[in-house]
Point group: C2
Chain length 240, copies 2
């Protein structure tokens, strides 16, 4: 007889602590109770609790410091649990542009995008065109397709617009955490919309980044195409 539903204690503890953090019981920058108190609360040993906290540390939800305590990490688009901001200026400092949404609509996606989101081409996705702005200059021209499947039914229908920081929004509103993404980089020549919005010349090549974002269950959440003037801004990556 195979037990199919065995969940280790430390994972149950970990998930419960995580849900309490996300629910706001311990806001960012506050301290969690110490190991012994938490272990007592959950009725487990210090070692078991610690193993749960270690995983939360690896996943960047908390930061532990010997002698001090366990601190809840901030959750926003630029924090380490969303390592998806990869833009740098010429001084090599990370930049966080603001976003302007030009258009949103519900539509049936192109076939190749439906495939990537693993949905039927007849399903409707939320489509958005956005530009990203820094110091008054448009630096990024973006199109975004939001899959219906990870969200509760009719969510997209009722979404009239998207906030600037979408990943934090998915997490806070729907508990959907973007845990990883696959990006493909392509060099392209600008189209009409790029030339206008990014203020580039027709013969200046752009970096096009196509990103599929996945939640913790490996369900595709979003497909995003970004075009950047890579002479002006650096798109950088750390591999390890």
């Amino acid at each position: 007889m195979k037990k199919i539903n065995f969940i280790p204690l430390y994972l149950q503890v970990k998930n419960d602590i995580l849900s309490r953090i996300l629910a706001g019981e311990w806001p960012p920058h506050t301290f969690l109770p110490n190991e012994f108190v938490l272990a007592e609360q959950y009725g487990v040993s210090q070692g078991t609790l610690r193993k749960g906290l270690e995983e939360l540390t690896l996943e960047k939800y908390i930061v532990r410091a010997q002698g001090k305590g366990t601190i809840v990490a901030p959750i926003d688009e630029t924090s380490s649990i969303f390592p998806f901001y990869l833009l740098y200026d010429k001084n090599n400092t990370r930049i966080f542009p603001s976003t302007e949404t030009l258009k949103t609509e519900l539509l049936s996606p192109p076939v190749h995008i439906a495939e990537k989101l693993r949905i039927k081409p007849t399903d409707s996705v939320m489509f958005a065109e956005r530009i990203r702005i820094l110091n008054g200059k448009t630096m990024l021209n973006e199109a975004l397709y939001l899959s219906p499947s990870p969200f509760p039914p009719d969510t997209l229908k009722n979404l009239k617009t998207l906030p600037n920081t979408v990943y934090a929004f998915y997490l806070k509103e729907f508990g959907i955490r973007i845990s990883h993404a696959i990006e493909q980089m392509i060099a392209v020549m600008p189209d009409e919309s790029d030339i206008q919005r990014l203020n580039v010349k027709p013969n200046e090549p752009l970096l096009m980044v196509c990103r599929i974002s996945y939640d913790v269950n490996k369900i595709p959440v979003e497909y995003r195409i970004s075009k950047i003037n890579s002479q002006e801004y650096a798109y950088k990556f750390k591999i390890n």
Copy 2:
């Protein structure tokens, strides 16, 4: 009094096991002795030994399977300890091109590259031009600058050539493991050498990838510029 040289037992154990793996005592695909035997050998408890093995698992040197045992992972360029191969063909399967070195020489690097390698512009680096070939087609045009600093003195002087799989070579010959890298992606128009070697038209943009590779001590080892026809081949990345 501050102990500055405190090294946890589990790290000592881990490093010793790793050095034994790299020395070839346990070749790839073979089983390590089980936890209790190893713990006994090192004179530590099962828990301490396990913590060392857990880190080696995270770093992909070994693979552990419940009920089976602990297996040594293969070490070559394409294995998971070198996650630096990011090329895919149109069928979305990873490709591993072969390499042809066109030229190597010792020279003083350009200032901006010396900066990135954190060496003096008067230091001499090994410079190589290489192309990478798949199915008879050149798909990648590459320049490579190898820093002298992580290597023993005069190593570069005596290196007449570079093998195809340089990262595995650094590890095997000098114990230098490339642990992470920073990549910057730029869209460029092809130069004369690109047009010839990659067989592209002058108006077809290329993806240029500039990579700085670091060893475990965060010392820059290599600076590499690769140019790819990104219409033909996909350059992909996983973020998490």
